[in-house]
Amino acid sequence: MELVLQALLNGLVSGALLAVPAIGFTAMFAVLRFPNFSVSGVATLGAFAGYTAYAAGFQIVGSLAVAFLVAGIVGLFLDKVAHLPLVKQGALPAAIASIASGLVLENVVRLGFGNDMRGYDRPIARDVRFGELRVNPQQTETMGVALAIMLLVFAALAFTRIGKAMRASADNPELAALKGIRPERVAMMASFVGMGLVGMGGMLLGLDSSIDPLTGARILLSIFAAAVLGGLGSAPGAVLGAFLIGMAEELAVLVVGSPYRAAVGFFAILIVLSVRPRGLLGERAF
């Protein structure tokens, strides 16, 4: 029983970290209308940008800001140059192009930093015990940062003019354009913010473990599964999906072992698409 509770607790932490890039992925899908798989490369880039900033003396929050900016700018550039011109031909060509650009980005990082695993140099802290359950203070801190980022994103979507414009454009693009909300500006904003969140997600996952050029590729399936499970295009759905996937992955480790952990994402996508294709909260609840 303690093992299960511990797995659920770990799942909550990894779910919170996964939720940040999942919100970015689903926000981009809601506005740009294609699944942007270059998030794998962008998450890796964000992780390394944050790592470099942290090594240069930035604090965690400052390093996250660097990860956000670098990932946002590069992600926006990729969207403008490689993905959005193809969206007119349909979501599939843009999605395929995004797989390619993700691979390019991953290898650019490999070229610059090599294949070695790297870890953020953080002070070692003793686990806090609650009965049989153990919580690492650093994980708690990272989870808190992830939750704060989520709150900021939801507040921006709910209360700012540009956030509402993004939601309006995702909800009803034709009416939004009729009301003077410029679709190309909203698309650029969604791309920059979405990719920035993916970059921060890459760094948060790096803070929790370590980073290497495959950091993004390893979480791509989980991000996609979280977004599909919650409902593609739904930001609250992405958060719910991320927590469920995080906990399911941790529980799966107990049952089938860690090598098969990644299978959880595949199963989640398979089940959702078979039983409830619109996801738990329905698409476009963004």
Binding site: A168, L175, A177, L178, G180, R284
Partner: protein, 245 residues
């Protein structure tokens, strides 16, 4: 004085496909004009061409004495024209308050005041301001769609089939709302399948057939015209449509 003058307007969804084939009409300040005609006559397309959602192939649209050629929908909206589409005319996932806010996106300076005025005019919207638009009934949704359009304080409102899919009672209530709006000084150009009801509240009407305005006149006269009655107001059969008006 004419608020809107449309002269020999041509256009459609794609360059090669001309649905509106030389339509000419006008709307004076403060009047309701109904646009009636058979399915496929180009009524909705004509509204979209006037509103700037489609680019005209030829012809002219003058709004408040200004040529709208080359202007997009938001710019035309700034000149005092608001268009209410037939479908997908609200932001379903957003609250009513947010819908109204988005309606005034191009000019946010007076948004709060406009929203307060609209809440006063439509108390239902005030009561449900925190509810998502998708939870509204069909009639309530149409009222919200009109309120979104009114956020720009338009002089002219284009309504595309406002009562489509509504119950007879809801449609009657909506016609009442349209008349009340008009009484407050907003001119209305309306495409409506419930032609008799539309003519009953309109000052004038235009009959559009195959992309051209074939008849124009006082709504009452057109409503009592035997040919128009037979063809468009529940009279005789469809085969008479082509070229008989």
């Amino acid at each position: 004085m004419s608020l809107l003058v449309v002269n020999d307007l041509r256009g459609g969804y794609v360059a090669a496909d001309e649905i509106v084939k030389g339509a000419t009409l006008h709307v004076d300040e403060g009047e309701i004009v109904s646009l009636i005609g058979p399915n496929g006559a180009g009524k909705s397309t004509l509204l979209k061409l006037i509103a700037g959602l489609l680019r005209p192939k030829a012809g002219q649209v003058r709004l408040r004495d200004r040529d709208t050629a080359g202007l997009g929908a938001p710019e035309i909206s700034r000149l005092g024209l608001s268009f209410v589409p037939q479908e997908r005319n609200v932001f379903g996932g957003m609250t009513i308050a947010e819908n109204l806010e988005m309606g005034g996106f191009v000019d946010g300076r007076h948004a709060k005041q406009r929203i307060a005025e609209l809440y006063e005019r439509f108390p239902m919207l005030a009561d449900k301001r925190r509810a998502a638009a998708r939870t509204l009934s069909g009639g309530q949704r149409q009222i919200l769609a009109m309120a979104i359009a009114l956020m720009n304080a338009p002089k002219l409102l284009l309504l595309d089939e406002p009562t489509a899919g509504l119950s007879p009672r809801a449609a009657e209530e909506l016609f009442g709302t349209i008349v009340a709006l008009n009484t407050s000084g907003v001119a209305i150009l309306m495409v409506e399948q419930n032609a008799l009801e539309a003519l009953a509240v309109s000052a004038r009407a235009c009959v559009l057939v195959q992309g051209r305005v074939e008849r124009e006149g006082h709504a009452g006269e057109l409503a009592s015209d035997p040919t128009v009655r037979d063809l468009f107001l529940g009279g005789k059969a469809q085969p008479m449509l082509a070229g008989s008006v």
